[in-house]
Amino acid sequence: MPEWTREITPRLARLALRPAREREIVEELSQHLDDRYEELRAQGNAHAAAIQLALSELDDDISGGNLLAREMLTLRQATTPAPPPPGAPSQRLMADTWRDLVYAARMLRKSPGFAAAAILTLALGIGANTAIFSLVNATLLQRLPVAQSDRVDYVFNGGTWNTLSYPAYAVLRDGTRAFDALAAWGGITASLNADGDTDLVSGVIVTGNFFDALGVRAVEGRVLGRDDDLTPGAHPVAVISHRLWQSRFAGRTDIVGTTIHLNGGQFTIVGVTPANFPGPQLGIPRDLYVPMMMQALMRPPRAGYSGEQNPDLLKNPNNSWLFQVGRRKAGVSRDQALADVVAVTTNYLRARGDPNARHPRLTLEPIDRRRSGAAPSDAIDRAALDGFRGHRAAHRVRERRQHAARPGHRATPRSGNQAGGGCQSLAHHPPGAHRERTAVIDRRNSGRLSRVAHSEGFRGGTAARRRTADRARFHRRSPGAAVLAGPVTPHRHRLRRGAGDPDVAPGLLPGLKDETAPEPRARRVTLKKALVIAEVALSLLLLIAAALFIRSLQDRAVGRSRLRGGRDRLSAPERQHSALYDGPGTRILPASGRTHGAVAGREERQRRTHRGADWRSASDHDCRRGAAGHRRADAR
């Protein structure tokens, strides 16, 4: 038979056929020419003449040109460029992407189990990563938009985020000379009624110098000022967040001067804060700002805040509920400011006869170094702690205190049990734990811890104890949230500790806290990238693990199905092998009068004989097994 390929292939060369498709066409046309050649030979044509006549089918009778190529030139398959070889740079990005997507869809449809596992894995991975990254971004990477933030510090009573009473704040505010403005705020949840609708709004009740201390200006109207903080109950004005302005009031232009009702009282909106200002704490967005003098209405004891039995919080030195933030005067260092507030505090405690006057502790934390919002596990806790108040955790608090009071105790997270990390971290942060830039007069023994935990007024011991107890109960009852909080807790813990601590990972702490870091912004970007890379790597790892798992399941399933002996699933050599065994069975069984039988290999035969059976007595069950050594032969 003539070799037609050499004649056809050159005629197709000018077309952009894919190699596989070209081979198919050549094969198909060759068969046609073979048939045509035999037909011509049968008609009496000589070999050469038959070839010549057959080849004339490929060319134009009139011009003698390449008719085949001309006819095929209008086909899509003849104009589709060949795909680039593996590894070659893509020439048509969109087309290749589409092809990849189609291929991926076909593969997923072909393996629904793998597809489901992959999609589920990706969904879980992306969801978890997004949640963690959002949390880290909100609490560790963002900064408050505060003017001249290097001069703005949080001032804590004792440990970080410890509160103090309003009278104590007033003493500090009036007594210190290190600050241009020392402001205080407390969290509130208010019932907002406007335009006939009522909503619960998270906000803060602030002193008149709050916005001065932070250096935040209004985008609409004005912010609260010192004139709004003079007489109790006489300043029914409010500032709302940009978010609330847009969502609740649809960004109406006449928002300034609008009358609203907060907790039943009539207020007037006087301004709107900038869109990028979430409130004094990152991670806890606030939508409402009301003057401190409206405390009786905006933060009454009946609202359920712990330890506030006296409705007049502005005069009660035993209810600690305020956080402080101060703007240092130009030229005043943080150490100088700390010494100043410690001196004022000491005098105040002495005047009250407080035994803690010998060991006052205050903490100044820079607002742009320290993550101002709650640390990750704090954020998780605070988001889910509502309604978890109670006294059962007092026992837990005592345990923590005893643990912290052991000789040689270090504020280091215990190894293992990361699920309880949030709880551990809090347990290792009693008021007596060593902190950076914390004035500690006496660090000697556990008695100090006990006094701190029980001190009131300036110490904020009640609130701290209650928060710790709540977190302990929360983590016991919500292991899921504890697992989430666990991985991030050690980092939060380290961030709170001194830069000289050998346990602190190099490169991590400086970018987030240590003021000696030369380029904190660059460090933050690096951390961001590292987080993204880690999340992507984790997702890929999960995906690969899922793929391997599904693959192993599929292999097992395929192995079982092949053992069942389905002939359609056999490969070509296996089919030939099977036919070889079927032949004798087909011929012998009718003669023997049996309807079923099997042919076994020598080894299988020996095994069966040894077992007391031969091929003719093989049961249906044995026949159906269809293992490699014996094939079923149905009587036809």
Binding site: R36, E57, M72
Partner: protein, 110 residues
């Protein structure tokens, strides 16, 4: 031999009609056209197969390699559902066309 353009215009209809009943390979289609037309219609390889490929690209027919015992594998073409609709429409059109031509070109009756 029929006019080349006339043959071209009817080629699609011929192929669709031939693969309507059952799947056929290219050489079989070619021979059937030649036999049923009494040798007046012939398709060269260079015309037949590009036409088959075009009909396949349109989705009117679909080709599949089939291997029979003792034979080489061959590519058989069968009509698709869409091709069946196209065939019905083309048959109607062709019938109307032929009737119109006959009415015009037929002998005039007194």
């Amino acid at each position: 031999m029929l006019d080349r353009e006339l043959k071209k215009g009817s080629a699609e209809l011929l192929i669709l009609a031939l693969v309507e009943a059952r799947a056929r390979h290219g050489y079989e289609i070619s021979k059937l056209i030649e036999e049923r037309s009494g040798g007046r219609l012939k398709f060269k390889v260079a015309s037949l197969y590009p036409l088959l490929y075009r009909l396949e690209e349109r989705g009117w027919i679909v080709g599949r390699w089939i291997e029979k015992a003792g034979e080489r594998r061959r590519r058989f073409y069968r009509l698709t559902a869409e091709g069946r609709e196209v065939l019905a429409a083309q048959r109607d059109n062709w019938r109307e066309f032929v009737e119109a031509i006959q009415q015009i070109t037929g002998p005039e009756h007194a």
